[in-house]
């Protein structure tokens, strides 16, 4: 190593030569840090989305790698939010990736003391059977004056404010077909 070269490695010299007199920039960056790349830069795709919390509707960008959500950030193009997210919106990656997410159907039989496993298809069949049975048992064709009611008051539904328009629409369509009157959501609360 020449003297000239080793002098060049001297921090003070590097700070002066690289325009970093306070030693807070490039001269003190380790190779490990220099090799780091933002997760957003490595994403396979960036998917436009909307924050799932309150009704402001902040734009989100979902960064996906290997079929997994790697990061969620505010969308700077949104005229509503201009790229900002609040603490909840900023935490929405954890909302979707949390190890506490439930991934399997859980079943509790009447008077049971523990959850049991149940295949999804079996659960769907059982729910369909319950709906048909309860509807049959509680269907009201007419009131006591003979006026048509065509409904069941034995089944109720609550929820819709956290799910999509298309989902609300299809769910209500099904409920109208069944004559389920008591379909409600958080707007009532």
């Amino acid at each position: 190593m020449t003297i000239r070269k080793s002098l060049g490695q001297w921090p003070v010299v590097r700070q002066i030569r690289q325009g970093d007199p306070l030693g807070l920039g490039a001269t003190v960056t380790s190779q490990v840090t220099a090799d780091k790349v933002a997760r957003t830069a490595l994403a396979d795709k960036v998917v436009p989305s909307v924050c799932p919390y309150c009704a402001v509707g902040c734009g989100q960008l979902v960064f996906v790698k290997d079929g997994r959500v790697e990061q969620i950030e505010g969308d700077p193009a949104s005229p509503l939010s201009r790229g900002r997210l609040c603490p909840k919106g900023s935490a929405s990656m954890e909302l979707v990736n949390s190890p506490m997410r439930e991934l399997k159907v859980k079943y509790r039989r009447p008077h049971g003391t523990a959850w049991e496993e149940l295949p999804l298809d079996t659960a769907m069949d059982m729910i369909a059977d319950r709906v048909i049975q309860t509807r049959r048992d509680t269907f009201e064709e007419r009131d006591d004056k003979g006026r048509p009611l065509r409904r069941t008051m034995g089944i109720a539904s609550l929820g819709g404010a956290t799910i999509d328009n298309e989902e609300n629409y299809l769910w209500r369509k099904l409920m109208v077909g069944l004559g389920v009157v008591q379909v409600e959501n958080q707007a009532r609360i």
């Binding site: 795709k45 436009p48 989305s49 909307v50 919390y53 009704a55 402001v56 509707g57 997994r68 193009a77 949104s78 005229p79 939010s81 603490p87 909840k88 919106g89 935490a91 954890e94 949390s98 997410r101 439930e102 991934l103 859980k106 079943y107 039989r109 959850w115 769907m124 069949d125 729910i127 709906v131 009131d143 006026r147 009611l149 065509r150 409904r151 034995g154 089944i155 109720a156 539904s157 609550l158 929820g159 819709g160 956290t162 999509d164 328009n165 989902e167 609300n168 629409y169 299809l170 769910w171 209500r172 369509k173 099904l174 077909g177 009157v181 409600e184 959501n185 958080q186 707007a187 009532r188």
Partner: protein
């Protein structure tokens, strides 16, 4: 008012801060001093539940000092309309309007009508008393009016008289806000309204969760109409809604009393004939509701497809009938009483999020079956082994007979679909990743459940199964077996029988030639493309940003924006220019989509026989109203009065300073042993619950906690249930900062950490000092951070118009220390 925007809608609050930078004035009226107050030019600490007295005081101030926007009021509101001669005000009847039926506990509104005509409401209770509504208002000519506004029964004079006692002195006595502070605010608002300036009101559930909640908003509407602040840029009354798609869920519609697009669900006494039903429910009135038949027929085509024909009245008879209030709290009581046996919960957590949590959990325990769909195992799914009642030993798991299905749901990144935000803007999301395991979207769940049920009933000849079998249920499925969300949106937006997409609501027809799942969403999917998926960056378009998403109706961003121009169609001022009449082009123009027939001249006058929107003159901006005018006085639509009136909350430590009738007489009360109320002011025992409690949200949590208490970072930021009390109350009750307090009510007792802070002020009300207790309501027994639920201490008592519970003001006691445990073992 009624909102803590900086903390609950922080990203939207950036625009308030921007407005302040440009010289705007921000005033915050709220029981608590919050971060919104910290950024405000003025904060007024108001007693929870007294907002009508406060806003009524502003109306009084505007009227008595003649500070209203004269031309706007005369032309655009019903100020000049003369009301029925039999009408009597709360001033005459000490807290009642005419038409009160004590026996039935409700009003007959026939004396609230316009002189000589029946006028149909655009919302709320719409059914006209008779099918003979040909007198339904079609044009100004049919109305009795006094343009001088001097007739003693014209709306303007009735309004003056109604609010004549809402003086600054009374405001101080009722609300706890000093006259000085109140008058400062009144002058700010009036000085910032008129041709050159506009004032906006922003509210949230601080206004709705009261036994007169709808009337809180009505009071603001009256004030804003008087000041000319509706339909104009920088004006309006803006609701800040709390869930990503609560607006869409309201529109589309998972509510018992409306079908998509606010079409009323038929009641048992409605006519069986489609045509007559429409006539009774607004379909013969002026304005856009005059096209009700078109909206309903096209919805029935969307629901029942080819089965819906002219010959069978488009399956109108398939629709179920209402016999009263069937809202969610009634369903809960139905569970407790055994009539409701099966329950679906989709992304909601009533065990924590609804008033009187104990009653909800009792209902859940009494079900045959329960389906909960969520991302996490919330309290509504775990009630049978993890709840305050199981913890105390009051009930045992093995004694609970409910069969529970927990179905894991897909998250917002795991499905295509649209949300409608708080300003009616639909924004599309693309699916980013596939849901894992058994997680599925509600689209998948709805479709496959429907398909299974239809397969099981396919051979049924029972007439009651006709509707479910007639449903149009053929959808193209994706690779993962769920309907294409965009195809569902296309059905909602509508198309013709030849498959062409509808450009907008004007194309929705009543002859069976169009299919449209939600008439106000018509045009959301048009021209072969999904309009809600548009994402042109804001820097590439003007400030109204019409090419970002799509707002209903017709991509209009400010509703009733015809009112931003004067009656002749010219801007009220250069500064507040928005939509105006372009004489040369023969159309309305401006940076937004005009909320008016685009080529309707300002001097248009409807001829005889004109109907629906064509029955409204060119200077009637409020096109959903039968008379095209803003209603200072609401002759129909509300069940508890045509004018807002100050009533005390159902539970209040003080009496009503204005009327003998202390509380809203039409409020929904449930007198039953499992829903105990506290004695109210003047009743024996009311001293036991001397304080007012009110609930609220925190920035770091989301409603009942299902989307926040399970997240590590949010839980770290707000780890524990607490209560906010003033230093005076802490002193009086011996509450130590950081220590425990128990909030005591007859429903439940809950414990919370004590936050002693001058942010909650003791108020002088009705000659005495009154303390308020603030309670965030996010906690429950599940998640990473756990705590007692604030909703457990509130009773069921509802607003009679919209059936929303009163959790923004009730009474309680508070004591130091933790609550007792295991009292039932």
């Amino acid at each position: 008012m009624g909102s803590n925007m900086a903390e609950c809608h922080p990203v939207a609050f950036q625009w308030v801060v921007e407005a302040k930078r440009k010289g705007g004035v921000l005033v915050h009226v709220d029981p608590r001093f919050t971060r919104t107050s910290a950024l405000a030019d003025q904060h007024l600490s108001i007693r929870a539940g007294s907002d009508i007295a406060f806003l009524g005081g502003l109306i009084h101030f505007v009227l008595e000092n003649q500070l209203y926007f004269d031309e706007y009021v005369r032309k655009y509101t019903n100020a000049a309309t003369i009301i029925d001669e039999h009408f009597l005000d709360t001033e005459d009847l000490d807290g009642f309007f005419s038409g009160w039926n004590e026996l039935e506990g409700r009003y007959d509104n026939s004396t609230w009508q316009y002189q000589g005509s029946v006028v149909q409401a655009a919302a709320g209770q719409r059914s006209a008393p008779t099918a003979d509504v040909q007198a339904g208002v079609v044009s100004g000519a049919a109305l009795h009016e006094d343009p001088s506004l001097e007739h003693p029964r014209c709306v303007f004079q009735l309004l003056r008289r109604h609010f004549s006692r809402y003086t600054p002195e009374l405001v101080e006595r009722v609300t706890g806000v000093s006259q000085e502070e109140f008058l400062k605010l009144a002058r700010t608002i009036c000085g910032n309204s008129g041709r050159d300036r506009t004032t906006a009101f922003v509210y949230a559930v601080g206004w709705t969760q009261h036994t007169a909640g709808a009337q809180f908003i009505r009071t603001a509407s009256i004030l804003q109409l008087l000041l000319g602040n509706m339909g104009r840029p920088g004006g309006g009354i803006l609701a800040l809604r709390g869930h990503a798609n609560i607006q869409g869920a309201t529109d589309i519609a998972t509510l018992f009393d409306v079908l998509p697009g606010y079409i009323p669900v038929p009641k048992v006494d409605d006519p069986a004939e489609l045509q007559e039903f429409c006539a009774r429910n607004g379909g013969s009135a002026g304005g856009y509701w005059g096209n009700l038949r078109s909206y309903l027929v096209s919805l029935l085509k969307a629901y029942f497809g080819d089965a819906a024909t002219e010959a069978n009245q488009y399956c109108f008879g398939h629709l179920h009938r209402l016999t009263g209030d069937h809202s969610t709290y009634q369903s809960t009581l139905g569970m407790v009483d055994g009539s409701v046996r099966g329950f679906f919960v989709l992304g909601e957590n009533p065990a924590v999020g609804s008033a009187h949590g104990r009653l909800h959990r009792q209902g859940l325990r009494n079900l045959d079956w329960l389906v909960v769909r969520d991302l996490y195992e919330i309290e509504t799914a775990s009630f049978w082994y993890d709840s305050p009642e199981v913890a105390s030993g009051e009930v045992r798991s093995q004694d609970i007979g409910t069969e529970v299905f927990f179905m894991p749901a897909a998250a917002h990144t795991e499905k295509d679909g649209s949300f409608t935000n708080t300003q009616r803007l639909l924004q599309w999301r693309d699916k980013a990743v596939e849901p894992r395991g058994d997680c599925r979207s509600e689209l998948w769940f709805s479709y496959w459940l429907g398909r299974r049920i239809r397969e099981r009933l396919a051979q049924s000849a029972d007439p009651r199964d006709r509707a479910i079998l007639d449903l149009a249920w053929e959808y193209q499925l994706t690779d993962t077996g769920e309907p294409e969300a965009a195809e569902v949106l296309r059905e909602i937006s509508g198309f013709t029988s030849t498959g062409e997409e509808l450009p907008g609501l004007g194309a929705v027809k009543g002859d069976g030639s169009t299919t449209c799942g939600c008439w106000i969403y018509a045009g959301a999917f048009a021209g072969g493309s999904n309009q809600t998926a548009r994402r042109r960056p804001h820097w590439e378009q003007n400030w109204v940003a019409l090419e970002w998403g799509w707002a209903w109706p017709m991509n209009r961003r400010i509703l009733y924006n015809r009112a931003s121009a004067d009656p002749e169609g010219n801007p009220w001022s250069e500064r507040k220019r928005y939509i105006e009449w372009d004489e040369q082009a023969g159309r309305w123009s401006g940076p937004d989509t005009p909320d008016f027939p685009v080529d309707r001249r300002p001097d248009y006058h409807p001829g005889a026989g004109a109907r629906a929107e064509n029955a409204l003159a060119g200077d009637r901006p409020f096109i959903m109203q039968a008379d095209g005018r803003g209603w200072l006085f609401a002759p129909s639509g509300l069940v508890d009065g045509p004018l807002p009136t100050h009533f005390e909350p159902h539970e209040s430590p003080v009496g009503n300073a204005l009327y003998e009738q202390a509380r809203n007489p039409a409020r929904q009360v449930f007198q039953r042993s499992d829903n105990p109320y506290h004695p109210t002011a003047g009743e024996e025992g009311s001293d036991a619950f001397p304080f007012v409690m009110t609930t609220y949200r925190l920035t770091e949590h989301h409603t009942a906690g299902g989307m926040s208490r399970f997240l590590a970072r949010l839980s770290q930021l707000q780890p524990e249930m607490f209560c906010e009390v003033s230093p005076e109350l802490a002193e009086e009750r011996g509450l130590r900062p950081g220590g425990w307090a128990t909030i005591v009510t007859r429903r439940a007792s809950i414990e919370a950490r004590v936050l002693v802070t001058p942010r909650v002020k003791a108020l002088r009300v009705g000659g005495r000092m009154l303390h308020q207790v603030g309670l965030p309501y996010h906690w429950g027994s599940r998640g990473l951070v756990r705590g007692d639920s604030a909703n457990d201490v509130f009773p069921l008592v509802l607003d009679p118009n919209v059936h929303i519970q009163e959790v923004k003001a009730a009474t309680c006691d508070i004591r130091p220390g933790r609550r007792s445990r295991g009292g039932f073992t």
